[in-house]
Amino acid sequence: MVATPRHTMGDRMPRKEDGRFIRGKGRYVDDIRLPGMLHSAILRSPFAHAKINNVDASAALELEGVHAVITGADLAAQGLAWMPTLAGDTQAVLATDKVRFQGQEVAFVVADDHYIAQDALELIEVDYEPLDPIVDSRRALDEDAPVIRDDKEGQADNLIFFWDAGDREATERAFQEAEVTVRQEMFYPRSHPAPMETCGCVADYDISTGEMTVYMTSQAPHAHRTLFAIVSGLPEHQIRIISPDIGGGFGNKVPIYPGYVCAAVASLILGRPVKWMETRAENLMSTSFARDYRMTGEIAATRDGRILGVRSKILADHGAFNAHAQPGEQYPTGFFPIFTSCYDVPAAYAEATGVYSNKAPGGIAYRCSFRVTEAIYLMERMMDVLADELEMDPAELRRKNFVKKEQMPYVSVMGWEYDGGDYHAALDEALRIAGYEQLLEEQRRAREEGRIMGIGVSTFTEIVGAGPGKKCHIAGIEMFDSAELRLHPTGKAILKLGVKSQGQGHETTFAQIVAGELGIPAENVEVREGDTDNTPFGLGTYASRSTPVCGAATAIVARKVREKAKKIAAHMLEAAEGDLEWTGERFQVKGSPDRGVNMEEISFAAYTNVPEGEEAGLEGVTYYDPPEMTYPFGAYICVVEIDKGTGQIEVKRFIAVDDCGVRINPMVVEGQIHGGLASGIGIALMEVMDFDEEGNHLNSSFMDYLTLTSMEAPKYELGETVTPSTHHPLGARGVAESPTVGSPAAVVNAVVDALSPYGVRHVDMPLSPNRIWSLLRENGVGA
């Protein structure tokens, strides 16, 4: 059954892509099978830190069905043993001198099938000499700490960077003069984006043409092609990266991993397609993690709750290679400087020390635009610590310190210019949905009955949509994005984008944007992404940038096309262009509504009846560089109850009011919020990458790396306010990461609130039942 085309901008249009996903017809990298394709497997280090004395692959090479075993030494001979990272460091493709984390790539086997490749791994003999590992970042800078990156000239310790921002002295003064100061140490533990589809590729080098095609799980195919060209020396125009359907990215598919490089090298050597696909364990152990920030937060305030200054200090663990995802070398802590958030803070200062450790490299922005989660978590925890100190209602304290809507566009003390916002309205809406007063009453009763109930509030602003190009870049390429639109003779359109959906619903929402601009149904717009040969150059999808940047490009390219359509319409209607008006559905002659043409008619004319002096066709391309980032915001409330006997936490309610400006497809927005809340609540309650003292990875399967399931998720209560972005052509902002940024603090605040009668002021994530039980018993709560 084909539904009548009818959807446009703002509609709750069912996702166009879902038909194929629900029917199991998605086409992912692992579905790609090329003639003559070989398979591969990676030998990985069992040690977190060890010297490699020798790698002997001879027995593996003798196994029937094995075509090649590539080692670090082989790559070194080609100058490919190391590759650049997004943060300007180097990362070993295959280890040569040492292994620096458990799971690091040591050798790459190519064979007829997976099974043989896996068997061959067991035949490779590596002579390791174990070294003392650094697992705890607090030990990284000790005098006697082993130097992890002894491959780097001049690197005598494990320091990656020291960074600071803000006005140190002014902040110091604020603290000296304040009536009240609070301070709290906290750890935002290491987590992993854990997309359902692991990373992988099929590299296909054609020896007859010299073309290299790589089907790849890439959130940023164009940027990856350029990096491939730079690393491999192959000419960029002969590299084609195709990102087919992607089963979730969440930041995990932004970096280039050794497996991609090895598969490409193997295909070059063998002249046959080579597939590399990670196992779950490999994905969890070796690809980019997120967070791992040890933070100290401080607030200086007046007795009546006005914030005078905020200070934070970070110890950042970036693992064995600094593969931090950051929009340029000026952001070693990403957008952490947004930490003053939605509050009118007169003085702020942040400093960070980044260190190497014997853990997987990273970190990337797991569903959060460049360290914003860490920043907001710190601030929202500190607001509650301050509220506790002042014995003030946490909602009230926040209200008192919000930037007011009259202050917009507000420039924060850290230098960010906010594109509109009404934080009071969002919080009021959340409190209304929650029934805050009744909730407080309910809590009083629960406490009388000896039940442990908590209410947590979190209000925040996000910062998403990098560029502007002058401020943000990836490997030097400015962070614009692009859209190319063509209307065909029957009025059907193809829209090609520089970004790449991994589940965000681009095929639907971007079609709706065109529909809204051109008055054609969204069903008649086909969206193409992910193939570098067939889409305009763009920087990709992450950090909630698709709608802010590429969505703007789409609106603008559609308007360009409409401008040309107007010329054709004038010719068709035999009227002057200036006499035409656009109704949203067609051009008509002002004052004569019976004389008009719609986009379908104009499209046909564009190929059959163009005015003199005009080229045929109806198409355009736009590269959009945003003037500023967008600042979606929200107000969240979480209600929990804790089982005194077992320490288990039940999230009873979760209220999320989000303002992402104008909603292109409210249903898609809500879907993204649901997913983001599941990620954020999961991080608060259970998601964690743990290591033992030797650096052994303890969470390499989904039985051990716990993510939230529908059984733990509450029924989300969503609300919205709509404050259009002041600069986005549609008034829209990004949204899919706001819930991951805002929700962890809401959960932790609720749990601390629940336990506050027993003197608890802070608990680190994850809030495992065992951890909560310990707190209960330590504070004399029995059951």
Partner: protein
């Protein structure tokens, strides 16, 4: 893709056939039932059997749940799902229904079998603890015929049972029908193995606990039975104070090890709390009858 090492594969068409295949191929042979414990271990190469004997075709002989004159009989190939959906089980052996709602997820429950859950010997497996509480026994068939083994006597260590490599479990049998029973489990998340779990099945006489059995899961190197606690409870009038003492005794009887699911003191305290809760629930259910 995680892939197992090379193995041979045979499909058994009868129980006798399965036994003779086991005999023919020797000790590196494993039965394959639902595969939801064995195949993950093979993929991680923690198990590398040389031969698999697949018994899924024996559904017609071994997949049933029935009442045989007051004795519950569950065929070894009954799925978790069958147990969960059985009205007979729900009415008379409610702790099994309790346990099944918390075992894994619907996908695993559709495939995983009762026989596999018992034979596997994972000390954190739920069904063995529930069956210990019921006082059930497994029926094992080997080349020399059939014998029965009380579930509490089945395990000698983690993943170790008294079964011979040539034995196949054909049935679970339970002749005791408790008046009330309950199963309580703490898991870090739905689908997780137990941090600790407790099964209780009891009868009341004259308002006193007449006969009670307690199975414990995830708190020792094998499935445990809390015999001293049972002793403490027998002949006593139910009530909060008694449950408290029973919980404390059971906690002493448990022998948990620290792992990702919790520290030893935590798990021990869970035993205390869950024994209290399970007793209360089981008594409540017995009183309704």
């Amino acid at each position: 893709m995680q892939v197992p090492a090379r193995f041979e594969y045979e499909v058994a068409t009868s129980v006798e056939g399965a036994i003779s295949l086991l005999q023919r191929y020797g000790s590196e042979t494993r039965l394959l039932a639902g595969g939801h414990s064995l195949i993950p271990m093979m993929k991680l190469r923690l198990a590398s059997p040389e031969v698999l004997v697949d018994i899924h075709r024996l559904d017609k002989d071994l997949r049933y749940i029935r009442d045989d004159g007051g004795t519950l009989r569950i065929g070894a190939l009954a799925r978790h799902k069958d147990v969960l959906e059985s009205e007979l089980v729900k009415e008379h052996y409610t702790l099994l229904t309790d346990a099944e709602t918390m075992i894994a997820d619907p996908l695993v429950r559709n495939m995983g079998t009762v026989g596999g859950a018992l034979a596997n010997g994972d000390p954190a497996e739920d069904l063995p603890a529930a069956f210990v509480a019921l006082g059930a026994e497994v029926v094992a068939r080997g080349p020399d015929g059939e014998r029965t083994i009380a579930v509490e006597d089945l395990y000698t260590g983690p993943y170790e049972t008294v079964l011979e490599p040539v034995d196949i479990i054909t049935e679970l049998r339970c002749s005791r029908q408790p008046a009330g029973s309950a199963y309580f489990k703490v898991e870090r998340r739905a689908g997780d193995y137990a941090s600790a779990a407790i099964g209780v099945a009891l009868n009341l006489a004259d308002g006193k606990i007449e006969d009670v059995r307690i199975g414990m899961c995830g708190v020792g190197s094998t499935t445990l039975r809390a015999r001293e606690t049972e002793e403490l409870l027998r002949g006593q009038r139910p009530g909060a104070e008694l449950y408290g003492r029973a919980g404390e005794r059971a906690a002493e009887e448990s022998n948990p090890l620290e792992d990702a699911r919790g520290t030893a003191p935590y798990k021990r305290d869970l035993v205390r709390v869950l024994v209290g809760r399970a007793l209360e629930k089981a008594v409540e259910r017995a009183e309704v009858v």
